[in-house]
Symmetry: C2
Subunit: 495 residues, 2 copies
C-alpha cells in the first residue's frame, strides 16, 4: 500500500473516497431490490489483486459481501467437478460474492502446465459460460475483472517482494518462469479473455501499473454494472407481470406406455432381493475403491414408494459411502439462491454416492404446477439441468434417475391406507391431497420433463410401481447395470 501512496495525487484520493461512498449507496439499493452480484477478479502475477480487492472490501459493509479464494492445489475442491466450489459460493439475493480467482484461473493454470489440451480448455470454458449464463438468467449481475501489469512493473514488484525477508517466500520459481515468458503468457490470457467475453458477462481488463488509477477503474466498473441492474429492475417492476399461466404439453406421452404388471410372490421376491443386494454391496465397494462419484435421483408420484426403494438399496451398503438427501421445500437461505445451489452443495465427491429423495426436477414439477416460478424459469430449467448433468457426467459421475410411476387410483388407495395406519399417518399431509387433485397436470409435466431431459449421459428410468416388490427389484437391477457400465468405462478426470 505504502509504495502507491507516494504516487498519490489529491484528486485521485478524492475520487476514490467519493466512489467508496457511491459503492455503498448503490449496494444498499441492490440489497433492497434483492439483486445478487458476483465479482470475479483474475489477474497476472503481481498485478496487486490482493490490494485492489482489499481496498474495495474495506469500504463495504462486511454484512453485504463474502470472499471466496481459489487455489490450484486445493485437495478438498479437487475431489469435485470444476464448478462445484463456485456453485457453493454464489451470492444470495442482495449480496455480493467476490471470487478471488476462479475457475478461469484453474483452467488457465492447468493449460499452462500442459495438463489439459486445447480441446479440453474449450470444454471447460463452455462449462463456465453455462455457469455464468445460468446465474445471469437468475438475475445475478456477473462482473469479471482481469488485472494486468506491464513486464517491467511486474519485475519491479516481484523483486521488491523477494527482497523483503517477510514476503520472500511468496515469490516462487513459477512466478519468475512466467515472467520470462511474459509475452506468450499474455497472448494465452488474451485468447482466454476473448473466448469468455459474453454479453451477459463481459470482461473488463485493467492495467494496474498505476495502482490508484486501477482502483478507480475497478470501483467504477462495479458501481456502473450494479447501478445499471438496479435501474433495470426498477423499470421491470413497473412494466412486466411475470407469466405463470398454464402452458399445456402436447408431445409424446411416455407414461401412457407404462404397463403395470400383476403382484409377485413374496418368497421369490425375498430371494431375488437378497441376491441383488449382495451384488450392489460389492459394486459399491468397487465404486469407492475406484473413487467414482455416483448421483442417484428418485423421483415419482407421491406414495409411489420412493422411500421403500431407497431403503432396499441401502440395506447392506456402508453408511460411510452414501448420503440420502431428502428434498423438501427450500429453506429461507436456499430460497435466496439459484434453485440449483442447494443441490450443488450435496453433489458427491469422488468415491461417494449422493441419493436424492426428490431432486432439482421439482423445478419443472411442483414449482411449475403451483406457479412458484415463471414460465421462462421452468422452460429454461430443462437446458440448465442437462448442462449440470453433463458437467457431472464428464467428471466421471455415474447418474441414475428414476421416475416411479403409479396410476391415480393406486395413489388414492395408498393415501387412504396411510391415513388409517396410526404409525404412518404423519407421512400424509394436506399438500399430498392437493397434489392428488392436480394429477393430470403432473402427468403433463412428467412427460415433458422426460422428453427434454432424457439424455445419453443421464437417461430416465420409468418404473411401474403399482407392485412395490417389482419396483424395488427393478430399481436394483437398473442400479446394478448402471454401476457396472460406469465402472467399465471410468477414467479418472484430469481436473
Amino acid at each position: 500500500m505504502s509504495e502507491t501512496e507516494e504516487s498519490l495525487q489529491p484528486s485521485n484520493k478524492a475520487i476514490l473516497k467519493a466512489l467508496a461512498i457511491q459503492l455503498g449507496v448503490v449496494q444498499r439499493e441492490a440489497k433492497e431490490l434483492n439483486i445478487p452480484t458476483l465479482v470475479i477478479v483474475e489477474g497476472l502475477d503481481a498485478s496487486m489483486k490482493g490490494q485492489i480487492l482489499n481496498q474495495l472490501l474495506l469500504e463495504m459493509d462486511a454484512r453485504t459481501y463474502k470472499v471466496h479464494s481459489t487455489h490450484a492445489s486445493d485437495s478438498g475442491a479437487n475431489k469435485y467437478p470444476l464448478l462445484n466450489q463456485f456453485w457453493k459460493n454464489t451470492p444470495a439475493r442482495g449480496m455480493v460474492q467476490f471470487l478471488d480467482r476462479s475457475a478461469y484461473y484453474l483452467v488457465l493454470d492447468a493449460w499452462a502446465e500442459g495438463k489439459i489440451s486445447d480441446g479440453q480448455v474449450d470444454n471447460y470454458l463452455e462449462y463456465i459460460r453455462q455457469f455464468e449464463q445460468q446465474l445471469h438468467d437468475d438475475n445475478v449481475v456477473v462482473i469479471k475483472i482481469f488485472l494486468t501489469v506491464s513486464k517491467k512493473e511486474q519485475s519491479r514488484r516481484l523483486t521488491k517482494l523477494e527482497q523483503n525477508p517477510k514476503t520472500t517466500w511468496r515469490v516462487t520459481a513459477k512466478d519468475w518462469k512466467r515472467h520470462r515468458q511474459y509475452k506468450s503468457y499474455l497472448n494465452t490470457v488474451t485468447k482466454f479473455i476473448d473466448k469468455s467475453d459474453h454479453d451477459f458477462a463481459p470482461w473488463t481488463v485493467i492495467s494496474t501499473d498505476e495502482f490508484k488509477e486501477a482502483s478507480i477503474q475497478v470501483n467504477q466498473t462495479i458501481i456502473n454494472r450494479i447501478h445499471k441492474e438496479v435501474e433495470a429492475v426498477k423499470n421491470q417492476q413497473e412494466t412486466e407481470a411475470i407469466k405463470k399461466n398454464w402452458v399445456p404439453y402436447n408431445g409424446h406421452d411416455y407414461l401412457a406406455e407404462v404397463e403395470f404388471p400383476g403382484p409377485m410372490d413374496r418368497v421369490e421376491y425375498k430371494a431375488a432381493l437378497k441376491e441383488k443386494q449382495a451384488i450392489i454391496h460389492d459394486l459399491v465397494h468397487e465404486v469407492h475403491y475406484l473413487q467414482i462419484p455416483v448421483v442417484m435421483v428418485y423421483c415419482g408420484s407421491d406414495a409411489a414408494g420412493k422411500g421403500g426403494c431407497i431403503k432396499r438399496l441401502l440395506q447392506g451398503m456402508d453408511p460411510r459411502g452414501y448420503d440420502v438427501i431428502p428434498v423438501g421445500a427450500p429453506t429461507k437461505e436456499e430460497f435466496a439462491q439459484h434453485y440449483m445451489w442447494r443441490f450443488w452443495k450435496q453433489m458427491p465427491r469422488q468415491g461417494h454416492i449422493s441419493i436424492f429423495d426428490r431432486s432439482w426436477y421439482g423445478r419443472v414439477l411442483v414449482e411449475r404446477v403451483e406457479g412458484f416460478c415463471s414460465n421462462e424459469e421452468w422452460e429454461r430449467a430443462y437446458r440448465e439441468m442437462n448442462e449440470t448433468e453433463k458437467h457431472l457426467h464428464e467428471f466421471g459421475t455415474i447418474i441414475i434417475k428414476f421416475w416411479l410411476h403409479i396410476d391415480k387410483e393406486t395413489q388414492l388407495e395408498r393415501f387412504k391406507a396411510r391415513e388409517e395406519n396410526p404409525l404412518k399417518r404423519w407421512k400424509i399431509t394436506d399438500e399430498d391431497w392437493r397434489n392428488h387433485k392436480q394429477w393430470d397436470r403432473y402427468i403433463e409435466c412428467v412427460n415433458e420433463m422426460i422428453a427434454n431431459t432424457n439424455t445419453d449421459y443421464a437417461p430416465w428410468n420409468i418404473v411401474a410401481s403399482t407392485c412395490k416388490m417389482r419396483a424395488r427389484l427393478e430399481t436394483l437391477d437398473t442400479t446394478i447395470a448402471a454401476l457396472k457400465a460406469g465402472i467399465k468405462k471410468y477414467k479418472k478426470p484430469v481436473m
Copy 2:
C-alpha cells in the same frame, strides 16, 4: 448382512422390527419437543460399526438425522483444533446427529501410534468432556456406544473381508497388527472408556459377536436415552419457569478505571498509522508462513468505533488471509444450535485470521440484558468461553480481545451525528436507542464479563475510545505485541 441373516432367530427379527417402530415414535416426540440427540459410535476393528449404523439409519426418517464420519488423515480437518469438526456437526434442535467415529478415535489412534503422550491424552479427553458437558447443558442427549468384538470373531471377519476380492483393500497391515496386539489394545480402550464415562454422557459397551443381538442393544440404548429425555422435558415444562430476573454484579469495576485521553494531532496520527500498518503487514505474512491461526475479537459499546478500528487493521493486509465476521442476531438455523456453534464454524484454520465484529460474548451482554437466555445459561457461559478459548490457545491460536469503551455522553453524541448524516443514517436503528437506555446494565455486564473471562491465554484489552484516532493506534499496538509474542513462542500442534 447376509452372513448374519443365517444366525437369525424369528424372535430377534420381530424384536428389531418393533424397536425400529419405537425409535421412529420416540424420535418424532423428541422432534416435537426440539430435543437434539448426539450419537457417538466407536468400535474395535471389524466390530461391524458400519452395518450396525446402517441398520439403524434405514429405519429412521432421513429428514431427522445426519451422519458425520471421522477420518484420522483428513487434511482439511487437521488444520483446525481437534473439536472443530465435531462442533460443526452438532445436532440442531429436534435432530439426531450420528458421529461415525469421533474425537475419541482420533486421540486413541494418535496415542496408539505413539504420536502423543499420556499427559496429552488426558488433556484431549478433557476437551472432549467439556464438549459433551456443554452440549448436555444445552439439553442435547449425548449417547456414546462402543462396539467390541472377540479376538476370534475379529480374525474371522478380517479374513472374510480379505478373501473377497472386492473388499480385500479394506483390510490393512495396521488392522492385523492391532489384531495381534488385541489384548493390550483392548486394555488401552478400556482405560479410555473409564476415563471418559460421565454421568451426563455415559458409555454403553456392546459386544457384536452376535450381530442381531448387538443391533437390538444399540436400538434399545438409543430409544431409552431419548425416551428418558422426552419425559424429563415434559415434566420440566410443567413445573419450572426459566429464571431471567436481573442478577446484579457487585465486583470490581474495570470500566470506572478507564481514563479518557484528549484528542490527538491528525498529522501525527497519520504518520503513526502508516508505520504501524507496515509492521502489521509483515507480521501477518509471518503468521501465514508459520501457519499460525489468529482469532481477533472486537467488542465494545455501540458507536465506540469497532468498524473504524477493524478497517485500519485491514488496510494493507491481504484479503486472502483474513475473514471479517460481522455478528448479528442468529439466523433460524443458528438459533437451533448451541450458541457457540456459529462461532466454531468461523474459527480460523492454520495460517488464517478470523476477525469477529462482535462475538460469542453477546451471550453475556445483549442476551443477558434482553433476557434472551436464562440466568443459568449466561452464568455457565463464562466457563464455556474460557474452555473454548483455552482449546484454541493450546492449538497455537493467537487470541486478541478488545473492549472499546466510551462514556454514555459520547455514545449519545455519536448517535445524533449519525442520524444527521444521510450516508450514515442506515447504521443507526431502534435497537441502538434501546441499548443506550440500558447503559448501566451493559456496564455491569461488561465488568462481570471481564472479571470472569480475562485469562492468561486470552486477556481482555480495554481501549479508551472517545478519541477514535488514539483507539485505532492502540488496537494496532496491542495487535503488534500479541502477534510478536505469539510468533515467538509458537510450536506446531501435534494434532
